[in-house]
Symmetry: C2
Subunit: 214 residues, 2 copies
DNA sequence: GTCTATATAGCGATAGAC
DNA sequence: GTCTATCGCTATATAGAC
């Protein structure tokens, strides 16, 4: 069992945090699902907070490295650098994670939740992980959409990441009569999503003057 | 104090739930901020869950009634029924709530969070409140955008509500170097938001065949 | 309606045997 | 590394005086 226990704890925490939230999930629920002892969490991670941190660390580094690698390949590959291809470079790695199995789907769900839920400490950690990625994507998009003021581009990027987070979080709009989960056919949904975001980012500027820069 | 205590409890709960989340907020924190006794919550509401329910009930009914009234006025007023005007009919009432004071801003923040956070029981309540509103807006949008398959329209509406929830929740994208809060200038941001959503909803259909209807 | 006092339960965390 | 047992704390909820 030894190190395998650590992985089972991460898997169980990932699933339960994604489903019920951090505060609502007890260490007892996690260790039960992981078939581990209650004390194992503190032996392997030190605290509940550090367990959550480890859940993110396990997957986030690779995810964002893949995003940057795809963007670099896009910019040096000689192909067309359009809003669609840049968005795809950002989104596809996370979609691959979802396709890789149920644990990947749970992680993206947790990641979406964290954008709204995250405590101050977790936000600091996520910021460190995301800052270089977002900055590079923003720069590239800025070159692709030179007609936009920086403040305008940043808000549109904010909206776009909002859609992505909301969708990955699997938010069930209580009012919608259809299942809002990403069931099957994620390829079709990805195309819908990318088009929705792309036309939003590419919309003509609204700025009349140039006073709004932040 | 009598009934005033009830209002102060609702105000404090609204603020703290919006800021820290439901599970993370204790009744002690709420009663302290409301300058009320701990037992007052159970006297006035019965339980913590029913307090949350009451926080939503206090504002949600009026909000959705105003949305429906605006949509009706739009459809019978003889003016142009465009995607932008329909979106405005949906969004403006919540924006008015935000402008009305800090409590309105807190409520919309809580409402945004709830779309991702909500427990099963709260989701049932929200569904009942939202179902008729969303259905009518979807019908109207369907007439304005007849080229879209129903499934396509529903997902685009889902994306749009995602952006709105995310923005109202005041999600601080940890990676963004700018303040992601809605500081001042909400008029400018509203125009940005509505344009982003409108062009996304109006994008040409992606459907090749007609097999995808749900 | 508001208060004090308390019941009851679950939480994260730790000590120490094995 | 894994276990049992438990500490110390906080939570929601309630009973009963005023």
């Amino acid at each position: 069992m030894e190190d395998d226990t650590r992985q089972r704890l991460l898997d169980a925490a990932e699933a339960l945090f994604a489903e019920h939230g951090f505060a609502e999930t007890s260490l007892r629920a996690i260790t039960t699902q992981a078939r581990a002892n209650l004390a194992a969490v503190h032996y392997h991670f030190g605290s509940k907070d550090e367990l959550l941190h480890a859940v993110f660390a396990r997957r986030l580094k690779m995810l964002n490295e893949e995003r940057l690698a795809r963007l670099t390949a896009l910019e040096t590959g000689g192909g067309p650098v359009t809003v669609e291809t840049v968005l795809t470079a950002f989104i596809e790695p996370s979609l691959r994670l979802r396709r890789a199995g149920v644990q990947g789907e749970r992680f993206t769900r947790l990641l979406g939740r964290a954008q709204i839920d995250a405590s101050e400490a977790l936000r600091d950690f996520l910021r460190d992980q995301y800052a270089p990625v977002l900055e590079r994507f923003q720069q590239t998009l800025g070159r692709t959409l030179p007609q936009l003021q920086p403040g305008e581009l940043r808000w549109r990027l904010y909206f776009a990441l909002g859609v992505l987070s909301f969708t990955y979080a699997g938010a069930r709009l209580p009012q919608m009569p259809f299942a809002a989960r990403l069931v099957g056919d994620e390829e079709w949904l990805l195309r819908q999503l990318i088009q929705f975001l792309a036309v939003g980012l590419c919309a003509p500027p609204l700025e009349e003057g140039a006073e709004k820069t932040a």
